[in-house]
Symmetry: C2
Subunit: 427 residues, 2 copies
């Protein structure tokens, strides 16, 4: 028998997929027991460098829907609207779909997965999160998954590249971003990555799988890395922490927190050692301790390799529908999340300033784990001197912390706003 595959898109992943499919025809056929054939490609434009041979090509995505010979469509165009229409049409026709598209899953995943389940056709998406790391497969095994208590991940390579460069080379955010752009690790408009939205979409998908809840992107608290400075990184380092852009999902009393933000990670934690564009996901489980997965988060061949893992699973009859949406998602808002905090306060160098910081925090029940006042970093202006005061608090509910910070910011001797960065005290 022959399995006819259609591909939507001709970007980096699609080209990687065509490469791998060509190089591994024999193996693919052997694993699936069938002849796997890329019989049609549709993309807005043909790229000269792509050799399509006998594969049909058109610039109309609808041809993938109307070609009744296709058994499976692989969606690699990205974005939400056209991808949504394509996937939905294919599923409704009873045709399986593989997608590498986190955005369409984050926004329309519940509906699309419901259609797939109803029509009993596969909708597979290993490549949509953490590129080459087989994290979706691990989460789909479900048994360990349903015993997951938390997951933490470095799932945006751009952010991790920038923070690594800032930390290792001492360059400012803007300079690290420029280098990332030159190396192709960041887009011309980097907002989606450095603002955290990319990681938020991936987190919503991971959390849905880990806790069998719907994908709810709107419930993800999202913060980017734009405001992280070299000073923050240096101060965190002195306390024994690295600053990483983390995605965190945690279940506690049937309430789930989902948050994406820069975070202080203890240096001995594996996440602190994941550098550059590498991705990592940690699963904290009741039954199997902490499981850690690291690998390439992007790249044509790595991502295509995950697409092919889906393809062979489907072709071998080993696809299973993911456990997503079995329970409601009862979300915890960021104000209700407790964690230790790193605070960086610019205070006027006057007697009593430190005392009033300590007193204000204490009044809100916030205890200080470490405090460093950097005399050598005093910035002198005409008539005052400003000292940076860096504090590590013990665990506190964020809403309570925010109230104390508001009070502090109202003091004449303290500059506003006070920089706060969450600290990871589990994992």
């Amino acid at each position: 028998m022959s399995i006819n595959v259609g591909i939507a898109g001709l970007g980096v992943v699609a080209q990687g997929l065509l490469d791998l499919a060509k190089a591994n025809t024999v193996q693919l056929d052997e694993i699936t027991g069938d002849t796997v054939r890329v019989s049609r490609v549709a993309s807005r434009r043909l790229r000269d460098e792509v050799e399509l041979g006998s594969t049909a090509f058109s610039t109309d995505l609808n041809d993938l829907i109307s070609d009744n010979d296709l058994d499976l469509v692989i969606e690699l165009i990205g974005g939400t609207d056209a991808a949504y229409d394509l996937i939905k049409s294919c599923l409704n026709q009873g045709r399986g779909v593989i997608t590498a598209n986190k955005a369409v899953l984050a926004t329309h995943g519940n509906e699309l997965l419901a259609i797939a389940r109803e029509r009993n056709v596969p909708l597979a998406f290993e490549a949509a999160v953490a590129g080459g790391i087989p994290i979706i497969a691990a989460l789909k095994t479900r048994f360990p998954a349903n015993n997951i208590q938390w997951l933490t991940g470095i799932i945006n390579g751009t952010c991790n590249y920038i923070l690594t460069a800032m930390s290792e080379e001492g360059v400012a955010f803007e300079d690290a971003l420029r280098t990332a752009q030159e190396l192709g690790y960041a887009e011309a408009d980097p907002t989606f990555d450095v603002g955290g939205m990319d990681a938020a979409q991936k987190l919503a998908i991971l959390v849905a799988l880990a806790f069998d809840v719907p994908i709810e992107i709107d419930e993800v608290y999202c913060e980017g890395i734009e405001d992280i400075t070299i000073d923050d990184i240096r101060h965190a380092d002195e306390f024994g922490y690295s600053i990483k852009h983390l995605a965190i999902g945690r279940q506690d009393d049937d309430v789930i927190e989902m948050r994406v933000h820069p975070a202080l990670v203890p240096k001995e934690n594996l996440l602190a050692k994941v550098n550059g564009v590498e991705n990592a996901v940690q699963l904290g489980t009741a039954n199997t301790g902490v499981l850690r997965f690291t690998g390439p988060g992007a790249g044509g061949h790595a991502t295509a390799s995950s697409v092919i893992a889906d393809l062979t699973n489907i072709a071998s009859g080993l696809y299973r529908h993911p456990g997503i949406g079995g329970s409601e998602l009862n979300a915890r808002s960021i104000g209700d999340v407790a964690s230790p905090f790193f605070l960086s306060i610019a205070a006027t160098d006057r007697p009593g300033v430190i005392a009033s910081i300590g007193e204000t925090l204490a009044r809100h029940g916030i205890s200080i784990a470490s405090m460093v006042q950097k005399q050598e970093e005093v910035v002198r202006s005409v008539d005052t001197a400003v000292i940076p005061v860096v504090i590590l608090t013990n665990s506190v509910v964020e809403r309570e912390l925010d109230q104390s910070l508001k009070e502090l910011e109202s003091l004449a001797d303290i500059a506003s706003p006070i920089k706060k960065i969450r600290v990871v005290d589990f994992a």
Copy 2:
């Protein structure tokens, strides 16, 4: 429908399994769509602390074979002979088997997997290697697997615990071993673990899956950690390396090397950061870069969790036969393996000794990457002084190195044998 499961053994993993099965009945049923029921347990003796409820119990393993109501048998007795007989009988009856037993797979795995394939019944073994880490599942996806170039692993928790303790606390091997025994991380007779055999069995299984070759335990080169000293660890540290007990499988020109031995690992490598009883496996692939998996390598619940992952896969119709034995295993003998070496030489402190070491190595085409001669470590006896000379060579074929060492050992001023430890220069 109901799935009747029989369990052989009542050790730590079996008890963990009974715990988890009880705690997760509803989830298991939901995932598999059937009622999963542990209907029979056979073990040489009943343990008082185990509550079996309505589950049938006997001390005769044959009852698991003769009970025709059993759909699946989970073998947790360990060892080779009785386990082999049990698994073979079950498979021949067309009954699926899950095993956590690396030893029986390392010695009889090819035959047992062939029977399973022929009878088309599952033989699953996620728990047999690296406890709670889903590495067998990852390797069974095969597509990335067939593009694996090498794998390296820390897959014996006892060795890793001992080396970590020696490194972090500066205690000698014997003392670290005694602590490991007290903590239950090492057996009363620790030979099987510290001598490397446990890791060798696991490596033979991983290599078979990674490269689709037979399981050939006799082709694994095996060395333990008994001769590693604190001085070795300290000297390696000065060169920027940690000493870890590694399992290495590597394919090159269709020849495969399989080796288990202490090795110097660059400190920035993730493996150098895996401490205590934790396990880790790295896969070096052509298409997805390096994938890393870490987690608990042992423990009742962790291992039982892997057994249950197998169980739910089988019950959901998602079992697939592993790709093992598709090609011949053409093994490279350890003498033909090239790697850099760490050498520790005790030399008499006489003029010309260092020169003759350098000259002998050079004559064999071996270049020195680093050399440290520790004047402060000179050991004085009645009429001579012995200096430790520590060398890091560039990559050299082991047979060639051995010849040069034999020449050096024949010199009057050099103590025999010279300590050599392999260095990992890939991964």
